[in-house]
């Protein structure tokens, strides 16, 4: 490996440091909304630029690592002591996609804030929490150390608790309380996994641990892997551990739900990819993961069919499509991993876009319940913004959802085992059912006349005085029904465009994910980057 220029370590720490410092600044400048907004947008732009540079560098020159503290060089035989941050192609890709999402959503939220006149509120806590969330997400992708991963999970969880319970309406407190408890239990399971891993290997550095785990008996390894998988599975909402998600996400404000849906579960998926490829290669848990993936897909999408609120419906499709990523990971092949990485990128963009569009629908029609919606086709811009990501999610060619699904199906077919074929069939069924769900939203919400909706006449009325302590979050935005602020439409359109980029440049991007998959499948590259030449 060529020696690193001295500015690369600085670059790697930027995605964590800049948002944290910016969060402090936004708190200090709480009196001036304009100042807060410009700091937040500026900080996330800086992170976005740094991520793009990292993506370019890793693509051109391979994996980089920096050990903050760096006491490893001074004669300690155990290698690096300090906080290791590693960026490889997978991490860099996740960073870039995440920061696109974070940037668009913050612009959307600022647009909504300007429209709603939140500048009258004394201290806005939304932007500081949002920046902390950004720092947590970015740090999770960069963490080269199991404990650092735990801390970044906690950072992003703490921020998400605040964001989820913004305003503390009864609905949000109820949803937030169960979300806090489930998240904390998963963190405790993760922490006990860390304790076991530390007891087994005597290190928490991922690269070092990977080397030492090779000498650990199979039973112990599998037990460790299982504990970590349960912890990550709760965060990623893999089937038996997914029931918390549809109860928690839909009550939050639209931008918050959008960023949660796009990023938080994907952090869990990313952690599963890392653990699966780096720490526990060999696929000892693949059968379990494949079955969990199948059940996640099917049960998630069946849940979506039963819903009448678009936000809840989308939350269920979110759970369902996590199954695709688990499928790709569990195939344990280079193609499977590559397809899973592409699918993660696609799904982050599309799912976030759909939730942003639902925010616009609520604003336009005063509700997100299919029992009340109708006639949205009269706003062609909104219809277009919904239709493209909806078709994309359903996997209609030529959109990226189709490409990702075909790549997954090919990888499954290459695997050739009976279980893999069952999953291939399952994912086709899920894809069709997703299309059905999306078509239902389209026909009910957009195509039919509003008067035909069972409660359409209610939504056409002004906000009912009876619903002052609103149980229906959709009514929060009622003061501004019928408008689509340009500050919210543009970020949504940009997100739709970003989803299309995955289609237009599918060739190069698939090539990139192939290389990323090859790199993470070969653990030596990662270990060499962290531990130096004598990786093993």
């Amino acid at each position: 490996m060529t020696p690193q220029p001295s500015w690369i370590p600085v670059l790697i720490t930027l995605p964590t440091l800049v948002p944290i410092l910016a969060a402090a600044l936004t708190l200090l400048g709480g009196r001036s909304p304009r100042f807060q907004r410009s700091i937040a947008v500026g900080a996330i732009s800086v992170v976005f630029i740094a991520s793009c540079i990292l993506l370019y560098l890793t693509n051109a020159r391979g994996t980089f690592a920096v050990t903050i503290g760096g006491w490893g060089d001074k004669g300690f035989p155990n290698g690096p002591l300090g906080i290791t941050l590693v960026v490889d192609q997978l991490a860099a890709l996740m960073l870039v996609v995440s920061t696109i999402v974070l940037l668009c959503v913050v612009v959307y939220a600022v647009g909504q804030g300007i429209r709603d006149g939140t500048s009258q509120q004394p201290v806005s806590i939304f932007l500081p929490s949002y920046l902390i969330l950004t720092a947590g997400v970015c740090n999770a992708f960069l963490a080269g150390d199991l404990f650092n991963l735990y801390v970044s999970f906690e950072v992003l969880l703490a921020a998400s608790f605040v964001l989820l319970t913004l305003g503390a309406s009864p609905e949000r407190v109820r949803a937030g309380a169960s979300y806090v408890m489930v998240s904390m239990v998963s963190s405790l399971i993760f922490l006990s996994g860390i304790a076991f891993a530390y007891a087994t290997t005597g290190t928490l550095n991922l690269a070092e641990m990977a080397a030492r785990l090779d000498n650990v008996p199979d039973g112990t390894r599998n037990a460790l892997f299982a504990v970590l998988l349960v912890a990550f599975g709760i965060k990623a909402a893999v089937f038996p551990l997914s029931t918390w998600l549809p109860d928690s996400y839909p009550t939050a404000p639209a931008p918050v739900t959008a960023v949660f849906a796009g990023l938080l579960t994907k952090v869990g998926v990313y952690a599963i990819i890392r653990a699966h490829t780096l720490l526990f290669p060999g696929g000892s848990m693949d059968t379990v993961l494949l079955i969990a993936g199948l059940l996640t897909m099917l049960i998630g999408i069946f849940g979506a069919i039963a819903q009448s609120d678009i936000k809840r419906l989308l939350s269920f499709t979110l759970v369902s499509h996590i199954g695709y990523m688990v499928f790709g990971i569990a195939l344990s092949s280079r193609f499977g991993l590559s397809a899973a990485i592409y699918y993660v990128a696609h799904h982050i963009l599309v799912q976030t876009t759909l939730f942003l569009v639902v925010g616009l629908i609520e604003r336009q029609a005063g509700s997100s319940s299919l029992r009340r919606l109708g006639g949205l086709i009269s706003t062609p811009v909104l219809a277009g913004l919904f239709l493209i990501p909806a078709l994309n999610l359903g996997g209609i060619p030529p959109f990226s959802g189709f490409i990702g699904k075909v790549a997954l199906l090919e990888a499954g077919a290459q695997d050739g085992s009976v279980l893999a074929w069952v999953l291939v069939a399952g994912s086709v069924v899920t894809s069709l059912l997703t299309l059905y769900v999306m078509a239902r939203v389209w026909t009910k919400g957009f195509w039919r006349a509003r008067a035909d909706a069972p409660e359409g006449e209610l939504a056409d009325q002004g906000p009912s005085a009876l619903i002052d302590e609103s149980a229906d979050i959709a009514f929060d935005d009622r003061a501004d029904v019928g408008r689509m602020p340009i500050g919210m439409v543009i970020p949504t359109a940009v997100m739709v465009g970003a989803g299309l980029v995955l289609t237009l440049w599918a060739g190069p991007i698939i090539g990139f994910t192939d290389r990323a998959a090859t790199d993470i499948a070969d653990r030596g590259i990662y270990m060499e980057a962290v531990l130096g030449g004598d990786g093993r």
Partner: protein, 200 residues
């Protein structure tokens, strides 16, 4: 390495009590469960990191200790304690808020949408806006104007059938108002409207 059995038992008891408390409905008990489990796991990290040893400070040593103590485990425990404390503070504020909202307890309630689906029937199913014509199976503009055998019913009969129906995703006050409007129009029975704001 030798393992401290006493501490292991303490860990087991703490974790068991914590898990038991986490199963409760009351948020404050869940918080206690969380704290107990957190402490159990912190102890676990301490136990698995090895026995006592020399303090990890250059030039310091204790009598008859062969090796150094592991400072990393203690650093991790400290971090975990701080994180748990922060979350506990947040949960306490949630508990307070839940007290304010519920007035008398801090129990978590079931998700309203889940309850709706669990207790739902064909009448309350999502999007049952138009009934299929029982013969042609086509959507009809008449709406739900068929009885269980598929015979058409008049709007009066429909209103009578649905007078008791509760629209689960509406506030009950709203549903009452709508039903009364229907009754007002159709059968000219004058019903006194509930006071605005409903009775909470």
């Amino acid at each position: 390495m030798s393992v401290n059995l006493g501490l292991l038992i303490v860990i087991g008891v703490l974790a068991a009590c914590g898990a038991y408390l986490l199963m409760e409905r009351s948020l404050i008990r869940m918080l206690f469960g969380l704290l107990l489990c957190g402490n159990a796991i912190n102890l676990l990290i301490l136990v698995v990191s090895g026995g006592m040893g020399n303090p990890p400070i250059m030039g310091r040593s204790s009598e008859s200790r062969a090796s150094d103590a592991d400072p990393l485990a203690q650093a991790m425990i400290l971090t975990a304690i701080v994180i748990t404390m922060g979350v506990a503070a947040f949960v306490l504020s949630l508990v307070y808020r839940l007290f304010v909202i519920n007035r008398d307890d801090d129990d978590l309630e079931d998700d309203t949408e889940d309850v709706k689906i669990l207790s739902g029937s064909l009448d309350t199913a999502p999007d049952r806006d138009r009934t299929d014509d029982p013969i042609t199976l086509a959507d009809t503009a008449a709406g739900d104007l068929y009885d269980d055998e598929g015979n058409p019913i008049t709007p009066e009969e429909f209103a009578a059938r649905h007078a008791e129906m509760i629209e689960t995703d509406l506030m009950p006050e709203d549903a009452d108002v709508i039903d009364e409007n229907v009754r007002d129009n159709d059968s000219a029975i004058s019903v006194s409207r509930p006071e605005d704001g409903g009775s909470r």
